[in-house]
Amino acid sequence: MLAAIGVMALLAVAIGLVLGWSAIRFKVEGNPLAEKIDAILPQTQCGQCGFPGCRPYAEAIAKGEADINQCPPGGEEGVKKLAELLGVEPKPLDEAHGTPKPKSVAFIDEQTCIGCTLCIQACPVDAISGAAKQMHTIIAAECTGCELCLPPCPVDCISMVPIAEDLPHWKWKHPVVMMKRVA
């Protein structure tokens, strides 16, 4: 009897040590689920979800504080992917957070720009180049189309230009197949 208790106690101590050591040795930095969610989010950093950027939204989803349908740039497909990752039912986008728009980039009317730098401060990805009292311009390749530069502009010289389809961006469309009526 005593021997049995002793063996069990020893086992418990040994296993406890192993567990304790591995908890330190294999500690995962950060939240791995938030990382995975962040990888699905479109990184527009637009804040339409109500969080200051994609990463905070991802963390909120991971904690269960935010729903998965708050990201209009991600669209229905983004919701579907998040649902798949989290093992929940996909749901339609929450209209309160906006509706998906065609992909656009910001464009500064250089004639009107007064060089106030407010848009530069607002841009979440540093995609506007310029300096005080110098004309500003958008680095189109870096622009995520988040529209955060629109409200601060005092002269309303920024507009969103949808990305036109050109040869390098052209995609094959889903084939439309005429099906024969059977029966």
């Binding site: 962040d38 989010l41 479109p42 990184q43 527009t44 950093q45 950027g53 994609c54 990463r55 979440p124 990805v125 540093d126 995609a127 870096e142 995520t144 389809e165 050109d166 040869l167 961006h169 052209w170 995609k171 094959w172 469309k173 889903h174 084939p175 197949v177 005429m178 099906m179 024969k180 059977v182």
Partner: protein, 557 residues
């Protein structure tokens, strides 16, 4: 021939329709009034224009330079004046325009100075740069810059060189005609490839439905000082595909996701070899090619065509007929429909196939897939087309990739045999382009994340730096002040130090004020002096007035 041949899986035997266009000799297409030369004719970066509007250019002059390693130059196909550098319709299924250089020809066809290259004396890398600047790209269909393919790499060597004269697709005969009439030059090109790649085993694969081409190539090969084996391979579509040709001739399969060079084999089309010989032995850039014009035309034949010639002029030359239902660039299996016939002939244009109802009856309406797997039997890439179709249709691109979608060569055998007439290849093209678009989006998102994170880091850093700077400044000031009373032997508290600081600042401001004397009071007339006095008097009065009402308020709170 004694060589043992191997059999690739699948394939089909569509009607060949080759004799229509081989009965007439090669004609040089006349010089058009206007040449529209697209800058994106090859795989890789489009070429960058190096001429200006209004500039006179000569035949063979470089008008756009290669941009980067995987790119190649573009040349003027004839002499004339550059009239536009803008978006023009190009031979692409989308019908979208692309950047082109338009040259109005002057009819003189005047060549730029050009000379043969002594390739044996040249450094290989230098020779490859020359070939890039001569605009060489694969003429078999993929238009991959040849200079890149002719680089065996640092460690890899390329013992086997295959020259592809398969031309398995129905209707197309440009390679056949080229081999019949220019066998010597094709093999001159092979000699240059052999020099660059160091290949020891050189094979020319030609389908056995081209006996004239086989004879012509064999007699030309017999004259060479190195061994070239011309092999007749059984005609079976897509036997002219690079991977299928490799398997037929060597029995080796290129592993999924690998290049043929990974197993020591490089493949070039006969047209590329011919263009290479013209480039080296004559110094001529790639400005023309053979194009088969066939199908529903009066005189199907092959033309030697300048790059940039509008397609409709060739159809008119071959004799257009009523009842045309469309035009394909390429053959019936892999060709793409042309949305517009004003589009120019490009380096990739091997065939212009005019369709009619009789020759190409419209496909019956599709029926649902019954999973008969006839497509799987026909697939030369050994894929499961019925599964790929299911995944592509459902948008399950991940699964499609697991089923090796990217090994699909889009040969069209599956669509050809499908009893339900489903345009299977269209679905694979759609899936591939969606996957590429997603990868592009993913890269853009990663870049945005990186930039956003760096911005946050930068803002934090700036905040910290500012705080540190202020703290350091306050510290030095405090130390300065502490030093003065310490000399006097008195202990000072922080509040005292602050007071002293403020007093010092006030004293500085006072000193500044008194120092600042007006600069325009030196030589004044008595009238002006009087005016100044008056103004000063008024000012003091106003100041006193301004102070007065404040005093009672201060006294009676």
């Amino acid at each position: 021939m004694s060589r043992e041949l191997f059999k690739f899986k699948g394939g089909v035997h569509p009607p060949e329709h080759k004799t229509e266009s081989t009965s007439r000799p090669i004609h040089a297409a006349p010089l058009p009034k206007k040449l529209v030369i697209p800058l994106r004719q090859h795989i890789g970066n489009p070429a960058k224009p190096v001429v200006e509007i209004g500039e006179r250019v000569l035949k063979g002059q470089m008008i756009a330079a290669a941009d980067g390693y995987i790119s190649t130059a573009i040349h003027a196909s004839s002499s004339g004046t550059v009239v536009a550098i803008d978006l023009q319709p190009v031979p692409h299924i989308s019908g979208l325009p692309d950047l082109c250089i338009t040259i109005e020809t002057d009819g003189r066809d005047e060549w730029v100075a050009h000379a043969p290259l002594d390739y044996q004396a040249m450094e290989p890398s230098q020779l490859r740069m020359q070939l890039r600047d001569l605009g060489l790209a694969g003429l078999g269909g993929a238009v991959f810059p040849s200079a890149v393919k002719l680089d065996p790499g640092a460690s890899r060597d390329c013992p086997t060189l295959i020259i592809n004269g398969g031309e398995c697709e129905p209707w197309i005969t440009c390679d056949d005609m080229l081999m019949r009439h220019h066998a010597d030059e094709i093999l001159q090109g092979v000699a240059i490839m052999r020099h660059l790649l160091g290949s020891t085993d050189i094979l020319v694969g030609i389908e056995d439905n081209k006996p004239e081409a086989l004879d012509s190539m064999r007699s030309a090969a017999a004259k060479l000082d190195f061994a070239v084996e011309v092999v007749a391979v059984p005609a079976r579509y897509p036997g002219g595909g690079a991977k299928q040709m490799i398997e037929t001739l060597t029995g080796k399969q290129v592993p999924s996701g690998k290049l043929s060079t990974d197993i020591g084999i490089q493949v070039f089309n006969v047209g590329t070899s011919y263009a290479l010989a013209r480039a080296i032995h004559h110094g001529e850039p790639l400005i023309s090619r053979l194009v088969t014009v066939t199908g529903h035309v009066l005189r199907p034949q092959n033309f030697e065509v300048l790059i940039g010639t509008p397609m409709h002029t060739l159809i008119t030359l071959a004799g257009d007929r009523d009842g045309t239902t469309g035009v394909l660039m390429g053959g019936p299996m892999m060709g793409v429909p042309m949305p517009d016939l004003d589009v120019p002939v490009v380096k990739a244009t091997n065939c212009i196939l005019v369709k009619s109802k009789e020759l190409f009856p419209p496909l019956p309406k599709a029926l649902p897939c019954i999973r008969c797997t006839r497509c799987a039997d026909a697939c030369p890439a050994e894929l499961q087309p019925q599964e790929l179709f299911r995944f592509a249709k459902a948008g399950d691109f991940g699964r499609a990739q697991e089923y090796h979608l990217f090994d699909c060569i889009e040969c069209g055998c599956c669509s050809y045999v499908c009893p339900s007439h489903i345009p299977l290849v269209d679905f694979y093209r759609y899936a591939k382009s969606e996957i590429w678009a997603r990868e592009k989006d993913k890269r853009a998102a990663d870049l945005a994340r990186e930039r956003h994170e760096f911005r946050q880091f930068r803002q934090e850093r700036e905040k910290k730096e500012k705080a540190e700077k202020l703290a350091a400044k306050a510290q030095t000031k405090r130390a300065e002040l502490a030093a003065v009373p310490a000399a006097e032997g008195a202990a000072v508290s922080d509040a005292d130090a602050k007071k002293a600081l403020i007093a010092a600042a006030l004293a500085r401001a006072q000193a500044k004020k008194s120092d600042a004397a007006p600069k325009n009071v030196d030589q004044l007339t008595p009238v002006q002096l009087h005016q100044i006095e008056e103004i000063e008097a008024r000012r003091t009065k106003i100041r006193e007035l301004a102070r007065k009402p404040l005093e009672p308020e201060e006294k009676n709170p």
